[in-house]
Amino acid sequence: MATVPVDEGKVRACRELAANIARDVQGYINQHTSVGVERTILRAYGAEGADAEGAPLVNLAVDRYKDAGLLDRGILYFVGRALLGGSRSVQEAAEALAYGDLDTGEGGPSLEEIREALRQPTIDALARIDGARDQRDALRASFPEAPAPHKYVIVATGNIWDDALQAKAAAYGGADIVAVIRATAQSLLDYVPDGATTEGFGGTFATQENFKIIRKATNEAAKEYGRYIQQTNYSSGLCMAEIAWMAAVEGLDMLLNDAMYGILFRDINPCRNFVDQYVARRIIGRAGIIINTGEDNYLTTADAVEKAHTVLASQFINEAFAHNAGVSDEKLGLGHAYEINPSIENSFLFELSQAQLIRQIFPQHPIKWMPPTKFKTGDIFQSHVHDAMFNLVGVMTNQSIELLGMFSEAIHNPMLMDRFLSLKATKYVFNTAKDFGDEIEFKKDGIVAKRAVQVLDEALELLQTVEKETIWGAIARGDFADVKRLRDGGKGYKGVVARHPEYLNPLLSLLEGDAKGGEAAGTGG
């Protein structure tokens, strides 16, 4: 088997540094909540629906208590009081919070009584997540496991009904995983739209109803073709935690979910993002959903040769954050990409080296191999060849998940035939070179081996700096993706709230088990 030299001592050092970096942030997370987190929790307890203008009930309730300066106790504190005050369900309680008299939280029942009122709803909330997980896993187990790399394709028509049709078509073409990407501006919406949608562009709105529609379509396709089809969406942006919960209860298999992507690529406030990703990942961990991290994106804004080590360093950090939230290695799909300028001599060898390095450093992880995008042009014919080389690396280095390249990448979201032709070409390369990686060895001091050593060395060095500067400093300095963001800058900061000493969130406490974030052992290597 073709391997690259990996110094295990250095890998251990990287993991320790990353754990320290994440621990520092976890201290902050444990003392804060956000409007996004509280809406998630309210949904998890059963509040649903939207008013005539489309404003979700959970937003109306949470915003009201936020604006009144009361959210620091957690929305459940008020839900519990409403239940004790006569609301017959969480839905009714949420309606009371949204439309009834404002409860200032003074007087009335004791904290113990409130906890007691929330006992059964908490059990129900957890059971809903667990039930959806078990149902999904049972269905999945009834089909044979697909060989790696799993072929992952995107549908993004903007209209959920066309998406459903194309998801089935993708399954027909041989896809193992179907992702619906969310609509262009959704990351910055501080609410999740309600119902089935037909109007997105650059993608389709992530809504609970839309998740249902695609789940139904992919399950039908699975029965038809005798292969399980995994469903994916994006848990990112200002509603990352709410979307994580929706995905959990609608039986999604995978989610794009990154500890820093929103900060770097959508200018979401770092505090907000860190708080939200923690709760999102707590739910994801419980639901057994695989996450896909977004380090591949760094190479679109930063140079893929010079900054290859930032991808690796960030993967260690993402891993540490995930461990703190109870996500296990087996569910941690760290992202990396084939993004080097194709005109560079031997760039294929650099790509191969990095892909193999990541494979070896993260052996249990369902790592996700991302295709060339940035240097794609309107020349679809050349683009198809570019993707073939990428596919070759994917199969040689035994990547777990491969997002297929599209020859029309520089032009539009993939069309029906673009996706089919990509699947066809990928199947060809995967099949024809199946055991290639096992058949060869890399030269001891060759280009591939040396490159791997260099990338790990540089990642270690960067992690040492980040540990000193803290992640806040590193992000402000532009260490990742060459993008600089300030701790109090960006979108959604106003939605962050410092927790009251008696902050109430029994579901989160259950999800945390005995281990609060940062103290969790994780399952890491």
Partner: protein
Amino acid sequence: MQKAAKLPERGVEMSDEKQLLRAYGDRRGDGMIQLSFTLEVAPGARAREAAKRFAELHGIHEPLVASMEEVAPGFSLFVVYGHSQHAVDLATIEVPELRTEALSREVVYARIQEKLGRKLVVVGACTGFDAHTVGIDAILNYKGFSGDKGLESYKCFEAYNLGAQVENEQLLARALAVNADAILISQIITQRNSHKENAAAFIELLNQQGLRDRFVCLLGGPRIDHKLALELGFDAGFGTGTKPGDVASYLVERLA
């Protein structure tokens, strides 16, 4: 190939008024093209005939259906070769083109010094919900694009890059605050013509406030060309492969 046979050797019919262009495949005038498309029909003899007729309706003579494959249940992808009957008269085509001579950094500097005696101030952003920064960064930031350093690297430019997801009002406010000479807008997402709407809305905003003449306005992005930019009310448009030097040269021609 009756039509093609009548054409002169060059395949471009030259006369005083006409310059007819035909597609070139293997021989001048053969009009050969390939196309691919999907029809909602399963493969079969009727599907093949449907593809042929579909091609004929597009002006393809003697279409050859080279491939027919089911890409989804009940959908076939066709690859068709054939002779296009159409010819385009080049003489009737007029496109506004940016004809700016590429000036050296020294000349850019000297001219701005001489004519303005101060730095030329530019403010740029990728506007609306569009989060793509690489294009505007390539033009403005020191690093530049493809070996050509960005405007920030010039001694004679003062460049402000506001990044992406910038509201039109925000961009204008900043341009006023720093007393900008030029405003640079980038638009990458084009689905549903969002690039056109966003860009036009900015010009509309300037017009409303009577500020259109105060700034030179440039529009850029992979689907932008000079013609489109003019139509949308900008002074110039820049597409794929634009280098910072092109922009510097244009601004000097325009302002200094």
